[in-house]
Symmetry: C2
Subunit: 127 residues, 2 copies
DNA sequence: CTCTTTCTACTACTTTTGTAGTATTCATTA
DNA sequence: TAATGAATACTACAAAAGTAGTAGAAAGAG
């Protein structure tokens, strides 16, 4: 999978569907998209075309129907978004971000344990 | 300070200047903006007008010059962006986000220590 | 073989954003 | 007081994004 192109908010919602399961027919995608968004079918079609046009997804013809698959990976896309977010709002640094995030969020014990574990695993691997 | 309106990337760069120091004259803002961005003066003026129009900043006339101040707080804006980011990419949950972030980031010892401390402080206050 | 349905292919139109240009208004200087 | 310069007020225009509509083609129903 390749360098991630610019993906808009609405397009991203379609990508999520593709990342969960692919290849999917236009109709499948439309149906799934409409579970969570009140989008006209045509709107979903447009989003799919645009994603294909910008190289974020590809399609394969089966008879007269199209089956779409993602061309960029969820992982690399999330990485890019993570960094863009950190850079824009926290000068690229994690600590201030986490701190801002936690300062206004109620965490369950489980959350805290998870976070502990995540950070500890980093510590060990960094030895 | 009030509910944060939609602020575009370029507009946000102007807001950062205002959050650091205000009120500031149009010229001051333009000058500071140009330290980090190659923006035409008119571009900065447009951004300022739009921020004022959408209620993110306000201005006060002093003679024929305008002095701008932020109308929304950096804190509340960052909170909103934090949550929108978490919701969009991690189903609103912090742990998966941190985990994704750390999985692809080299952390210094200091970073780790900071993170530890941030999380420990949460733990104690949650007791 | 024609009609209807169902896909995809184009086209469209509005809002937001990025990025500036032109017009107008005052205040100051000659 | 007329010319100049410096501010702000409007206007502009293209690209991206949101949201659909219309046209055309092909497949299945009679």
């Amino acid at each position: 999978m390749k360098k991630t192109p610019q993906i808009s908010r609405a397009e991203y919602e379609i990508m999520k569907i593709l990342w969960d399961d692919y290849p999917l027919s236009t109709n499948d995608i439309t149906e799934r998209a409409q579970r969570s968004h009140s989008w006209n079918q045509k709107t979903v079609h447009t989003l799919l075309s645009r994603l294909a046009a910008k190289g974020a997804a590809s399609y394969e013809k089966q008879g007269r129907m199209y089956f779409y698959s993602p061309l960029i990976s969820r992982e690399s896309y999330l990485q890019q978004e993570n960094h863009s977010f950190l850079d824009r709002f926290y000068g690229g640094e994690i600590a201030p971000m986490l701190s801002s995030l936690l300062a206004h969020t109620e965490l369950s014990d489980k959350d805290l344990e998870d976070l502990h574990e995540i950070i500890n695993s980093q510590t060990r691997s960094g030895d």
